[in-house]
């Protein structure tokens, strides 16, 4: 089968469209056996870029196909996977996504609502599950104000949509006009600029009180100001460090204002609290079915040009998910 293949950990330029054997057996991290998907669209994201250089925590042996997410149609499903041939699905696969066929992990696979395209499906699982769980851990409730850092990014835009669906008010932090447009398109209540006096603006927007929650996939220098932006009793969810640097916090910052800071990693939590991932999947599925999820697609490439996908990520060009149309929309199963 054809796939976007890495034969060495040489970064984006090492990815080439080529041939790989069809996947056998089950995904090594699958719970429930073999789930083979005919890929219609694949999502390529930041972990794929890191993985192309050998810089990510989980790795398959070389050669492998890149692409952490897929949307498509189930071709084979072992009993116990909860899926059947013909099901339209969206899944996190970690790798192997930009290929004609991919192995999915049943525990990280959801049914794709009829109203959602495969391209949207390829942008669904990773960001929306992460954002939903981050909001859940921050106990975000109706009527609360939520500050979203990196609001035009994958987790950020997902957080904007889900927070709005929860009845919360969102304040997006972005760094450019184009990102501001993206955040507004995805329903941001207010938008502030990371290079401006955003902390003061957030205070003004909240009547001096601050926000009840911060969703932070960025980290870096602005972390302390994120803590300052919280109201008394406020909660900050640490999702990642796309800004590059890992913040340090002096613990007394939390004390008097009763702040809490939580690290958020859904899949790891599931090992200790089984059912975590299932709860997240069901929530995502329900929001998708209810039409509350639109997904933001920043670049869309035909399969032939998919080698460009990692380079687009490397140049930080795309606002939204980079999606590869493995089977052009409308084409049936091969």
């Amino acid at each position: 089968m054809r796939a976007l293949v890495l034969r060495e950990l040489g970064g984006p330029d090492a990815a080439e469209l080529g041939d790989l054997p069809e996947p056998e057996g089950a995904h090594p991290m699958a719970e429930g056996g073999r789930l083979l998907v005919e890929v219609h669209a694949a999502g390529v994201s930041f972990p794929d870029l890191l993985r192309s250089r050998g810089e990510y925590q989980m790795h398959p042996p070389l050669p492998f196909a890149t692409g952490a997410e897929v949307a498509g149609v189930v071709r084979e499903a072992a009993p116990g996977t909860g899926f059947a041939p013909g099901d339209r699905v969206a899944a996190l696969v970690h790798w192997g996504g930009v290929a004609e066929l991919a192995l999915a992990m049943p525990q990280h696979t959801v049914r794709l609502p009829d109203g959602m395209s495969y391209a949207q499906g390829a942008a669904l699982y990773l960001n929306y599950a992460t954002a939903w769980y981050a909001l859940y851990r921050a106990h975000v409730r109706e009527g609360e104000a939520v500050l979203v850092q990196g609001a035009a990014g994958g987790v950020g835009t997902a957080a904007l949509e889900i927070a709005a669906a929860l009845g919360a008010r969102t304040i997006a932090v972005v760094s450019s006009d184009a990102k501001e447009r993206a955040a507004r398109d995805m329903g941001a209540g207010d938008v502030v600029r990371s290079d401006g006096p955003w902390l003061e603006q957030v205070r003004e927007l909240t009547g001096g009180r601050g926000v009840q929650a911060v969703i932070d996939p960025v980290g870096g220098d602005r972390f302390t100001d994120s803590l300052r932006a919280l109201a008394i009793g406020g909660r900050l969810s640490v999702v990642g460090f796309t800004g590059g640097s890992i913040p340090e916090m002096k613990i007394n910052r939390l004390l008097l204002r009763n702040l809490s800071v939580s690290g958020v990693e859904m899949a790891v939590m599931d090992t200790e609290v089984p059912g975590t991932v299932k709860m997240v999947n069901e929530a995502i599925q329900a929001l998708a079915m209810a039409g509350r999820i639109r997904t933001l697609i920043g670049a869309r490439l035909p399969f032939e040009d998919s080698a460009e996908a990692l380079r687009i990520l490397d140049r930080r060009e795309a606002i939204g998910k980079v999606v590869v149309d493995v089977r052009p929309n409308g084409a049936g199963p091969a």
């Binding site: 008394i232 640490v238 990642g240 340090e248 007394n252 800071v261 690290g263 790891v268």
Partner: protein, 334 residues
């Protein structure tokens, strides 16, 4: 009237028993409501030590009367304060308690259960409300394991006492044989030594998983090991920094463990969510009235020796609570 007076901000040695003017008007933090108490016993705790050096977040200029907690009998009470002359009460006064008469702060004051003597009353409000609030904010569930730092101290003994009524398993961290004895007396299920390989012992005691909750009134160098002692999804409550130094944490330590670090400060929380302090005080008083709480009084000092209580705290030798007998029990009004 006689009182233990902080004459200048030079620590415990600048505290003298002296004659001072009778308290006038309401306590400055009492929302205008005057409640004057004939003090029988005064509690001396860590914030009092900090105040003798001007190092606490709430302060009043010297000369001032030390003593953050009072137990005694109401002499005068404004209508609407919720108290009446003759009421036996206990509560936090922030300062001013170690005197023949003191001003109470109604929201930080509870009626003293009949079965509790004044000395126990002077050890009730601050440490038990703090421990109660910390346990509530950490959402400790029955069956969970809770690591308590400074377990022989005021907040530590109160936390052990509260936890034993809740079906949680407590692991006390202490620094001496004497403190171990106190922790065991207060119901610690396990005791480890801060000077030994306590992190490894905690892992062993929890089947390798770690504890679900850490209550930390100490701070300092052991903070990182406290985080390492937490189970997936674990919560660490920052209560204070009796160890002296304020820890710094790299935020990625929280990420993969799904850890939460939260600060507690009752007074600011109450300003934002009025009624919190009243509710907690009432719950503590109800538990005390039901005979569920037994404050540990490790040091009981005559009025004229009261400054020694501050020195005990300064040497980090305090066992449980320190109480000054302003009026020996049973004595009536002066």
């Amino acid at each position: 009237m006689r009182a233990l007076v902080v004459e200048s901000l030079e620590g415990p040695d600048a505290v003298r028993l002296a004659d001072v003017a009778e308290p006038e008007g309401p306590h400055p933090r009492a929302d205008g409501q005057r409640v004057l108490v004939e003090v029988h016993a005064a509690g001396i705790a860590f914030p009092d030590l900090l105040q003798t050096r001007g190092a606490y977040q709430i302060s009043t200029p010297p000369p001032f009367v030390t003593g953050g907690e009072i137990a005694g009998v109401v002499l005068e009470a404004d209508a609407g304060s919720g108290f009446a002359p003759g009421d036996r009460v206990a509560g936090m006064s922030i300062w001013g308690a170690a005197a023949e008469r003191a001003l109470a702060i109604p929201k930080f004051t509870v009626k003293l259960p009949d079965a509790m003597d004044f000395a126990a009353g002077a050890a009730l409000w601050l440490n038990y409300s703090t421990a109660w609030f910390a346990i509530e904010r950490a959402a400790v569930q029955e069956g969970e394991a809770v690591l308590v730092h400074g377990a022989a101290g005021g907040v530590g003994t109160a936390a052990l006492d509260v936890l034993r009524g809740r079906g949680a398993r407590s692991i006390a961290v202490v620094s001496s044989d004497e403190k171990e004895r106190v922790a065991r007396e207060m119901g610690a299920d396990e005791v480890v030594r801060s000077t030994g390989p306590w992190k490894d012992e905690v892992r062993e005691l929890t089947g390798g998983n770690g504890v679900q909750v850490v209550l930390d009134p100490v701070g300092g160098d052991r903070f990182t090991d406290s985080l390492r002692s937490l189970d997936q999804g674990g919560r660490l409550v920052v209560i204070g920094f009796a160890g002296g130094s304020i820890p710094t944490v790299k935020v990625n330590r929280l990420l993969l463990g799904n850890l939460t670090v939260l600060g507690i400060g009752m007074d600011p929380f109450d300003r934002r969510f009025p009624g919190t302090v009243r509710r907690i005080g009432d719950e503590v008083a109800a538990a005390a009235a039901a005979g569920q709480l037994r404050p540990y009084i490790g040091h009981r000092l005559a009025f004229e020796d009261g400054a020694e209580g501050l020195r005990i705290l300064d040497r980090r030798e305090a066992l449980g609570n320190i109480v000054v007998d302003v009026r020996p029990d049973g004595a009536g009004a002066a």
